[in-house]
Amino acid sequence: MGTTASQLSKESLSEYQELTFLTKQEILLAHKRFTELLEKHEKDQIDARVPMGKIITLPELKSNPFKERICRVFSTSEQKDGSLTFEDFLDLLSAFSDSATLEIKSHYAFRIFDFDDDGTLDCADLEKLVNCLTGETNDAKLSSTEMKQLISNILEESDIDKDGTVNLSEFQHVISRSPDFVSSFKIVL
C-alpha cells in the first residue's frame, strides 16, 4: 500500500480511481509531479512528506492567496505543518477536479475559508477572506467602514439562525444557489 519506489502499482492505481474523482491519467500525472518535488533519497520512501514550502512552489498554487490554507486543510500530518503525502496531494486534486460533487467542493471551500479552524466563519474569518480576495496592495483594500458594512451584509444574507457566524450548512446553502462556484473551484495539473 502507499507509493512504492517511483512507480504506482496497479492495485493502488485502481484503488485511487475508486476513492477519488480523478481518472487514471490524472493520477499518473499527479504522481509524476509529486515525485519531482521529493528529494532524491525520499523518492523510494513510502508515504514521504513534502513540506509546505515546496508545495506552494507549484505553478498552479504559486500565485494563489489561499495556498497556505489549502496545504493546511489537506494535510494529515501530526504537527499540523501543512506537509502533504502523495495521498493528501491526490485528495487535494480530487476535491478541485472537474467531476467532484458540489458537496465535496463546498465542504473543502468552507474549511479553506475558516482561517481559525473553529468550525464557523465569524467576522474575523470573513475579514481575512475579503482581504485575501482583494489582494495585498494598499489601494485595492476595502476601507474599514466598507469592510464592516460588507461583513454585516454577508451575515444578514447568509446567517439563517442568527448566531453571528456562518456554519457549514449555511455556507452550503449559499453555495448551492451560486452557479459559478463549481466552475471556479477547479485546479487542473
Partner: protein
C-alpha cells in the same frame, strides 16, 4: 431583522423564575425544574455535571481538538471588538465578553460547528446517509410472507443481523452499511465522503475484508461466482473506457493555458467551440456513413462533365466540385446497386429491385431519413444539455444574496499567472465596492427628469439600431434581386466565361459578411452613450441587438433561396437548384471564415500594435466573448441549413472550426488582456446554448422542413427528381410497403391518423401544457416550504442562544456562590 431578545441578566423576570421570554410556562416547565434543581444543588455536584457534559462532548471531538486554550478565548474577545456596531446585532452575537472557557468549549464542540472538521462527526453523518440508502435499496417484503402472529418491523427488515448494541462504534456501523450496499452505491458514497484518502482506504479495506469473509463462508454456486467476476470485469472496463474518453479530449494543454491567464469567461468561448466541433463530427459521421459512403462506392451512371480542378473551386465551391459527392445533385434516385443498366432510367423512387440482390439500398429514402434523424437527434442532445445548464444556473428562491455569493464564489482558482491574479483581485475589489455603493444608494431615487432623459436616450439608441438593421435587410434584399436578374439576363454569356459568373456569385456573401462585421461595431458605439442599471443588462442588450441583425440577415437569404431561386431556377440556367443553394452556403461559410480572420487581424493584432506604438498605452484590447460566440452560432446555423443540400458541409465546418480555434487561441494569447468587467460564465453559457437551440437549430429545422414539405425538387438531378415534394418519397415507400406486406398496413394507417391528423397534435400539446402547469405548482409549493423552514431554523437559533446564556448564567452563579463561600471561610 431578529427579534430583540433581552439578555439582561438583572431583568426582574429573569431573577424571578428564569422564565423564557416567550412566557410559555407549561412548555418550558420541565426545563425550569432542571434549572431550579441545579440552582439548589451544591456547587460541587453541578460543576461536576457540567464537567461531565463537557467531557462527553470533548470525547467525541478528540480527533481534532479545536484551539480551546486561553489564547483562543483572547482571540474571540478580540474578534468581538470588530463586531458590527448595529444596536440590534450586538445582542445577537453568541460570542459575548467574559464567557467562561467551559462555555466556549461547549460552544466549539456543538454539532453544527464540528461537522465540518471532525472525523467522528463526518463518519456518523455518513453512517446515517448509508443507512437511509440501504433502506431505500432494500426491496420491501410483501405482508403476505409474514405469519399473522409475528409482527416484524418492515423498516428494519434485513437488518436484524445488526447489533443495536451501543458499544458498537460508529465506524463499524458505517463499514457494515457500506458492505450491504450495491457496489456502485458504495463507490459513490466512498468518493463523496470528505475524509482523507488514507482514512477512506482503511474503511474500504475493512469492507473488502468483511466481504471476502462472507464470500468464503458461503458456498457460492457457479452462477453467482460467474456473476461476481462479470461485475468486476465490467467495472474495470468501465474505468478504462472513461480514461480512454478522457485522453481523447483534444486541446487540453491549450485550454489550461487560456484559463490560467484569462479565467473562466474566455475559457467558455473555447469550450463552446469544442461543443460545436462535436456536433459537427456527429453530423458528419451520420451523413458520411449513410449517404456519402454508399454513393461514393456506387457512383451514378450518368455521364458527368468533369472539369479540371482550378484553384478557384476552393473559394466558390462550384466548378469541378459541383458534380461530386459534395452536393445534392450527385445523388441518385434509385436503389443501389443498380441491377442492370437499361432498367430504371427515368423511373422514380418506387423502383424496388426485384432481382436477387443481397444488399439493396434505397437512396432517396436513405437521404430523407438520414437528414431527418440527424436533425432530430441533434435537437434532443441540445435540449438535454440546455435543460441541464438551465437547472444549474437558475435556482428557485433566488433571493438577493449577491454580495455573499460574490464573496464566496468569485475567486477563480484556475487562474495561475501572477499578473492575471492581480487583475482578478482588482476586479473583485472594484465589484465589491460598486455593489456596496449600490446598496447604500438604493434609497436615493433619481429624479423624474433624469429617468425620462435616460429612457429617451434608450429610445433613440434602439431606433438607430432597428433602422440600421432594416436598412441592411432591404439592402441585401435588393442586392440579391439584382444579382438574380443579372444572372437571368446574362447566364448564356456566363457559360462562355464561367469565371465571371463565379466572381459575381461571391459578391453576395461578401456583402453579408461585411454587414455582420460592421454593424455590431456601430451597435457598440451607440451603446456607449447609454447608461444601464447594471453591466449584465448591457451585455443582454448587446446580444439581443446582434442576434436581431443576424436573424434578419438569415431570413432574407432564406427567402431569396427558397422563394426566388428554387421556383425559377431554370431561368438562370441551372439544372439543379439544390446544388446551387449548397454551393451558396459553402461560399457563405468560407466568407465568414475569411472575415473572422480579417477581424482578428485588424481588431486585435493591429489594434494592439497601434495602441502600443502610437498611443503608447499599456492597455491591450479585450476579447469580446459575446460577439465571438454569436459569430460561431451564425456559422453553425449556416452549416445546419446546408446539410440537406450539401451532405459534406459538416466536414467543411469542422475544418473551419479547427482553424478558427488555433487562430483565436494565438491571437488571444498574444494580443488580449484579461477582461475587466464581471462575466457570469455559467449564466452566459446557458444563454448561448439556448440561442444555439432556439433560433439557430429551430430556424434551420423550419427551413429544411419547409423545403421538404412544399418545394418542388429539381426534375433532372438529385434523389427526389420527379416527385412533387421530397416528402412524397416517404409516402411512396409506405405505399409500397403496404402493397408487399399487408400486415404492415397498420403502420401506414397509424401514419395517416396520427402524424397527419392535427387533432392528435392538439391533444398532445394540451397534455404537455398540463404537465408543465403541475410542475410549476410543485415549484411554488416548494418555495413556501423553504420559507417555513427558514423561520424554523431562526427559532432554533433563538433557542440555542437562550440555552447558552442560561448555561453561562448558571455557571456564573455557581462561581459567585463558590467565591462567597470561600470568602466566608477565610473570614471565619
Amino acid at each position: 431583522m431578529a427579534r430583540n431578545v433581552n439578555f439582561d441578566l438583572s431583568h426582574p423576570l429573569m431573577e424571578a423564575g428564569l422564565e423564557s421570554p416567550a412566557d410559555e410556562e407549561g412548555v418550558h416547565d420541565s426545563f425550569q425544574q432542571l434549572i431550579a434543581e441545579h440552582a439548589d444543588n451544591g456547587a460541587a455536584s453541578s460543576a461536576l455535571e457540567l464537567q461531565q457534559l463537557q467531557s462527553d462532548l470533548v470525547e467525541e471531538s478528540q480527533d481534532n481538538i479545536p484551539l480551546c486554550g486561553p489564547e483562543h478565548e483572547h482571540r474571540r474577545q478580540g474578534a468581538s471588538d470588530l463586531e458590527c456596531d448595529g444596536g440590534e446585532r450586538e445582542m445577537d452575537q453568541i460570542q459575548g465578553e467574559g464567557w467562561s472557557s467551559d462555555t466556549l468549549k461547549i460552544l466549539s464542540s456543538m454539532p453544527s460547528r464540528t461537522i465540518g472538521r471532525n472525523r467522528g462527526a463526518i463518519i456518523s453523518q455518513y453512517c446515517n446517509k448509508t443507512l437511509k440508502l440501504r433502506r431505500r435499496r432494500q426491496t420491501r417484503p410483501s405482508i403476505r410472507d409474514f405469519s399473522p402472529s409475528s409482527r416484524p418491523s418492515i423498516r428494519s427488515y434485513g437488518m436484524e443481523g445488526d447489533t443495536i448494541d451501543a458499544e458498537v462504534s460508529k465506524r463499524e456501523r458505517l463499514v457494515n452499511n457500506l458492505q450491504n450496499l450495491p457496489v456502485s452505491d458504495r463507490v459513490r458514497m466512498l468518493r463523496g465522503m470528505p475524509l482523507s484518502v488514507a482514512e477512506k482506504k482503511e474503511i474500504r479495506n475493512l469492507v473488502m475484508q468483511k466481504e471476502k469473509r462472507i464470500l468464503s463462508n458461503k458456498r457460492l454456486s457457479c452462477y453467482s461466482q460467474l456473476k461476481y467476476y462479470i461485475i468486476i470485469a465490467a467495472r474495470k472496463s468501465w474505468y478504462s473506457w472513461l480514461s480512454f474518453l478522457h485522453s481523447l479530449q483534444p486541446w487540453q494543454t491549450l485550454l489550461k493555458r487560456v484559463s490560467g491567464r484569462f479565467g473562466t469567461g474566455v475559457l467558455s468561448y473555447f469550450l463552446f467551440l469544442k461543443t460545436l466541433v462535436f456536433f459537427n463530427v456527429f453530423l458528419f459521421l451520420v451523413t458520411g456513413a449513410f449517404l456519402v459512403l454508399p454513393q461514393a462506392v456506387h457512383p451514378p451512371d450518368e455521364a458527368t462533365e468533369t472539369r479540371s480542378f482550378s484553384g478557384l473551386e476552393l473559394l466558390t465551391g462550384a466548378g469541378s466540385f459541383s458534380h461530386t459527392v459534395m452536393y445534392y445533385g450527385y445523388y441518385t434516385n434509385y436503389t443501389l446497386p443498380r441491377s442492370s443498366r437499361g432498367e430504371g432510367r427515368g423511373q422514380n423512387a418506387s423502383a424496388l429491385s426485384s432481382d436477387s440482390q443481397q444488399f439493396s439500398y434505397n437512396m432517396p429514402l436513405a437521404y430523407f431519413f438520414t437528414i431527418g434523424m440527424a436533425f432530430f437527434i441533434t435537437c434532443i442532445i441540445l435540449v438535454y444539455s440546455m435543460s441541464k445548464t438551465f437547472g444549474r444556473s437558475f435556482r428557485i428562491n433566488k433571493s438577493n444574496s449577491i454580495l455573499t455569493m460574490k464573496t464566496f464564489s468569485s475567486w477563480d482558482f484556475k487562474v495561475i499567472k501572477k499578473k492575471s491574479v492581480q487583475i482578478m483581485s482588482e476586479n473583485i475589489c472594484t465589484q465589491l465596492k460598486e455593489l456596496l455603493a449600490e446598496l447604500t444608494q438604493k434609497n436615493t431615487k433619481s429624479t423624474f427628469c433624469k429617468r425620462f432623459c435616460r429612457q429617451m436616450v434608450h429610445g433613440v439608441a434602439w431606433t438607430i439600431c432597428i433602422a440600421s438593421t432594416t436598412g441592411c435587410m432591404a439592402g441585401v434584399y435588393y442586392f440579391s434581386e439584382f444579382i438574380h436578374k443579372d444572372l437571368q439576363q446574362n447566364y448564356r454569356k456566363f457559360e462562355v466565361y464561367p469565371l465571371m459568373k463565379e466572381a459575381r456569385l461571391l459578391s453576395l456573401p461578401t456583402v453579408v459578411s461585411l454587414i455582420n462585421l460592421l454593424l455590431p461595431a456601430l451597435f457598440n458605439v451607440v451603446a456607449w452613450m447609454e447608461i444601464y442599471e447594471s453591466p449584465s443588462v448591457f451585455a443582454y442588450v448587446a446580444i439581443g441587438r446582434n442576434l436581431m441583425l443576424k436573424t434578419s440577415m438569415l431570413g432574407v437569404l432564406c427567402f431569396h433561396w427558397l422563394g426566388r431561386v428554387a421556383p425559377e431556377y431554370k431561368s438562370i440556367g441551372l439544372t439543379c437548384w439544390e446544388s446551387f443553394v449548397g454551393e451558396e452556403l459553402y461560399r457563405f461559410l468560407l466568407m465568414d471564415f475569411i472575415f473572422t480572420l480579417l477581424d482578428t487581424l485588424f481588431g486585435e493584432l493591429l489594434w494592439r500594435l497601434f495602441s502600443e506604438k502610437v498611443l503608447k498605452k499599456k492597455r491591450k484590447p479585450v476579447f469580446d466573448i459575446a460577439r465571438n460566440v454569436l459569430d460561431l452560432i451564425y456559422g453553425q446555423t449556416l452549416a445546419w441549413l446546408g446539410v440537406l443540400f450539401s451532405p459534406l458541409l459538416p466536414a467543411v465546418q469542422i475544418l473551419k472550426l479547427f482553424l478558427v480555434f488555433y487562430i483565436k487561441m494565438s491571437s488571444v494569447m498574444m494580443n488580449c488582456q484579461a477582461p475587466r468587467k464581471p462575466y457570469r460564465a455559467s449564466q452566459m453559457t446557458t444563454i448561448f446554448i439556448t440561442l444555439l437551440c432556439i433560433p439557430s437549430l429551430l430556424g434551420a429545422s423550419v427551413c429544411v422542413t419547409y423545403t421538404m414539405w412544399s418545394i418542388t425538387p429539381s426534375t433532372s438531378c438529385g434523389p427526389f427528381r420527379g416527385l412533387s415534394t421530397m416528402f412524397k418519397a416517404g409516402k411512396h415507400w409506405m405505399k409500397i410497403l403496404e402493397k408487399d406486406n399487408p400486415k404492415l398496413s397498420v403502420l401506414s394507417k397509424a401514419h395517416t391518423y396520427f402524424v397527419e391528423n392535427p387533432f392528435f397534435l392538439f391533444v398532445g400539446a394540451g397534455i404537455f401544457l398540463i404537465v408543465i402547469y403541475f410542475h410549476s405548482q410543485v415549484v411554488d409549493g416548494q418555495r413556501k416550504i423553504i420559507s417555513l423552514l427558514q423561520d424554523q431554523i431562526q427559532n432554533e437559533g433563538e433557542d440555542k442562544k437562550f440555552l447558552i446564556n442560561q448555561l453561562q448564567s448558571v455557571h456564573k452563579q455557581k462561581q459567585d456562590a463558590g467565591k462567597r463561600l470561600k470568602s466566608q471561610d477565610s473570614t471565619c
